[in-house]
């Protein structure tokens, strides 16, 4: 962003401030509360085009209507206090200040975790927020990547930039998969989303690298209401990874992101998530992140494919159902998930596969592991509509219990309206087999090592779906999470 733009932005913000409220704008943080003014303020600060503001306002009005009618999505198997939407600050400008001057100042336990996860030194700096000039290398790596992407014509930028630079593409696709009327949190996100990622892969292009938010970490600060839009034009391929294995402490308790994927004819999108946010105080569960996300992909063209892979180990409350609408004929949807909950964590996660086109296929493999006092639910829908001839689905949801105070639940919805559909669903719930443990012991493995090995085997088919470099870290992450769960 050039200097003049920044100035312009600042000017705009100050202007708005005059009419608005009395908080010191220099804190770069909007006052608490949600109103049309706040929505306008956010849009203004981000220098957005008029149509986007209008869209946000429509979403806001819809949100308000839902709140006023007393609606709150309380149907999931989750027990937490409804957030007070007027007690949240909906905008804070990206914090450019470094948290630390060098890695030496970073607390030892964080570094130790990094070490064990095998995260390279430069990335460690980026993740902990060590001063920018100290991570020059990673910035230059990012620049090289960007050049390479530009060569191929792949657009990869923040949502805010995209709205300004490629309004036609954004406008055409925004809200088409997840309209703001979809649910309360989608409406909220649509009204106040801070920023997020935008990926556009042109026709016939295989994106030359795994895209991840990793190397953008310093220019990020996308805040609590992220919005991601990925568009894959015909015959293209892109793999996107969100989050990282490193433990992330988030400032805000409520996170309501929206992710929309659109795959045209013969295109494939692979979306992987690793989420390890602050789960709250291990003894009381207080202060953890509420991760309430709406994710949906649309297989718009024939022969398209969308695949979701997720490893969820963090957050106090997780509620997300990455879904695929299989509209194109011969399209494929996949969902691979490992959700690990311990302490006071609660997760209600799963997927929806909506078969609309002919010869569509979907695969769901979900592994839930629950320890301590945690509750872990799988909730999914497989819907085969009347005209979706020859639809095929295979679902497998396995749960493992690592303690007698935790819970594991499965709520699969299967709705079939076509005789040619072949749908299979199976689910099991059990604890770690005594015979498996015994075998490991007899081979000289201790309790904890044995448990790690068995859990790893339990999750193997999911972790194998992650991009290679992350699969290794993910495995380590699970091992770290498992520590102290033996008993």
């Amino acid at each position: 962003m050039s200097q003049s733009e920044t100035e312009y932005l600042q000017g705009k913000a100050d202007e708005e401030y005059k009419h608005g409220w009395t908080t010191d704008i220099k804190t770069e943080k909007a006052p608490k509360g949600l109103s049309e003014d706040i929505v306008r303020y956010i849009s203004n600060r981000k220098d957005e085009p008029e149509w986007l503001l209008e869209w946000r306002l429509k979403a806001f009005r819809h949100f308000k209507q839902r709140i006023e009618s007393g609606e709150y999505p309380g149907w999931a198997h989750l027990d937490y206090e409804e957030p007070d939407f007027q007690d949240i600050s909906y905008f804070s400008a990206p914090d450019q200040k470094a948290q630390y001057d060098s890695l030496d100042e970073v607390p030892d336990e964080i570094l130790e975790t990094f070490e064990r996860l095998g995260i390279p030194l430069e990335e460690q700096k980026a993740l902990t927020g060590v001063a920018v000039d100290a991570v020059m290398d990673s910035v230059s790596v990012a620049t090289t990547f960007k050049e390479k992407l530009e060569e191929e014509g792949v657009l990869f930028m923040s949502f805010g930039e995209a709205a300004k630079e490629h309004p036609d593409i954004v406008r055409k696709h925004l809200g088409t998969v997840i309209p703001y009327t979809d649910n309360l949190y989608a409406a909220l996100n649509s009204a106040v989303f801070s920023d997020g990622s935008f990926v556009y892969v042109p026709e016939g292009v295989d994106c030359p690298m795994e895209l991840s938010t990793y190397f953008r970490i310093n220019e990020q600060g996308t805040g609590q209401f992220e919005r991601t839009l990925i568009v894959a034009e015909p015959d293209s391929y892109v793999s996107y990874l969100e989050g990282c294995t490193a433990p992330m402490r988030k400032e805000n308790q409520l996170h309501a992101a929206v992710v929309e994927l659109i795959a045209h004819e013969d295109a494939e999108i692979k979306y992987s998530t690793i989420q390890n946010w602050y789960p709250g105080d291990p003894d009381t569960g207080e202060g953890g992140v509420y991760n309430l996300v709406t994710k949906r992909g649309l297989c718009k063209g024939d022969n398209s494919k969308i695949s979701w892979t997720q490893l969820e180990t963090g957050s106090a409350v997780t509620q997300k159902y990455p879904s695929v609408i299989l509209a194109g004929d011969d399209s494929v949807g996949e969902f691979y998930s490992v959700a690990f909950t311990k302490g006071h964590q609660q997760a209600d996660t799963g997927t929806k596969m909506q078969h609309l086109g002919k010869n569509t296929k979907s695969t769901i493999i979900s592994k839930g592991i629950s320890a301590d006092l945690a509750d872990n639910s799988y909730r999914g829908l497989v819907k085969v509509s009347k005209n979706a001839d020859n639809a095929r689905n295979f679902s497998q949801c396995d749960s493992m219990l690592l303690g007698d105070q935790c819970g594991a639940h499965t709520y699969p919805y299967i709705e079939i309206g076509n005789p040619s559909a072949q749908v299979e669903h199976e689910a099991t719930t059990s604890k770690v087999g005594e015979d498996q443990m015994f075998y490991c012991h007899s081979r000289g493995l201790g309790e904890e090592e044995a448990l790690k090995l068995i859990v790893n085997g339990f999750c193997k088919e999911i972790l194998a779906e992650l991009p290679m470099e992350f699969a290794v870290e993910a495995k380590e992450l699970l091992a770290i999470e498992l520590e102290g769960s033996v008993g």
Binding site: H77, K386, D404, G407, P412, E415, N418, V423, E424
Partner: protein, 446 residues
Amino acid sequence: MPTTLDTDVRPEDRFVSAFKVNHGQTLNGTSASIAQQREHAIERFAQLGLPTKEQEAYKYTNLATVIDRPYTLPLSPEMPAVTEEDIAPFEIDDLNAHRLVLVNGRVHEGLSDIGDLPSGVIISSLDRAGQEHPDVVEEHYGAYVDFEDDAMAALNTAFVQDGAFVYVPSGTLLEKPVFVLHVHAGEEDLLIQPRHLFVVEDGAVAQIIEKQHSLTDARTFTNTVTEMYAGRDANLQHSITQHQGDHASQVMTTAGYHRDNSTLTSNLFSLSGEVVRNNQTLTPDGEHCESNLYGLVLGKGDMHVDNHTLVDHVHADCASNELYKHILNDRSTAVFNGKVFVHRDSQRIDAYQQNDSMVLTNEANIYTKPELEIYADDVLCSHGATSGQIDREGLFYLRTRGLTENRARILMLQAFAQEVLDEIRNDAVKAHITGVVRDRLARSFT
């Protein structure tokens, strides 16, 4: 005095005013506890209201369309004329049983043929049992079905009058099965609410075979509540066939409660009906219990069958099995919601659940939701659900053996259904239902 429901007012209010009008017409009017329960039930019903599609439990089943009709509530015993010949077609060949016949929800003593009973065994109407054996009735009545959150069970409790009653005392083996035949008769559109109570004491063994049929084309809505109790080491086999025709709708709530080392088995066959909703709950409250739920749905026409089952594992060291199969033809719809609930400390539970469906046409629909809710770690619980069509390779094989396409299809579907039929322990009943299923399948493809 019969009361006709006035369709101009809110459906809930119709029942509340009918309750007031017919205050005195009730089961065992002298029992203070039953009277009190009725008062509480109508209050609860008024608060809860009739189930709507907004509620998760009725997401796929719209009761309003079938309950919102000007039915007659027959509150006093007016028995339409039904003869032996009328009910003859509903008999089961070679079934040597104690027969109890209910016409419009009330026991018809003239048609019933109880025969000789081992000492202590009681087979009668609930109404009579309430007067003659108030101790047994009051101990078990209302103890196993919970109407606090169930409007239909509350409604039944408020209007309770009569139903079947079976009591088998400790250590008694009831050799012959009890055959309970329900028929609807008369010209009026009826809303009837039978209430059944089956008590099998410690170490006793009994088989109860229920069949529901209709002699009328009038529209009927039946809201049944059945309570079953099996004591320690007892074995109760319960089977029910729902075959009342296209004008009959029903909500059937069954609550089975059983103690240590006992076995409680339910076989359910839904063969016809307009809207049929079955809520079956089994609660094995003791160690080494075996709870079995088997069901077969043959959908035809616009039939809508919704089976909700719950196996509530409140006690450790138990096993449960569940198998439901659907064959859906024409525009029929089936809903299956099977839930296995394992409470904290209910360790070493072995729970198995399977639901398989065959959807034969584009207009038929299946909505299935096999749920597990588990709070204990040392368990082995699994569920599976499949939906598909007749296996092509199987069909091809049968064609190569010289079967026509239709014959091959019928054979494949019969084999599909057989797994459920095989769970029937009574040979006469098994032969009878297998025959009915075979005829139905044969008719579907000719």
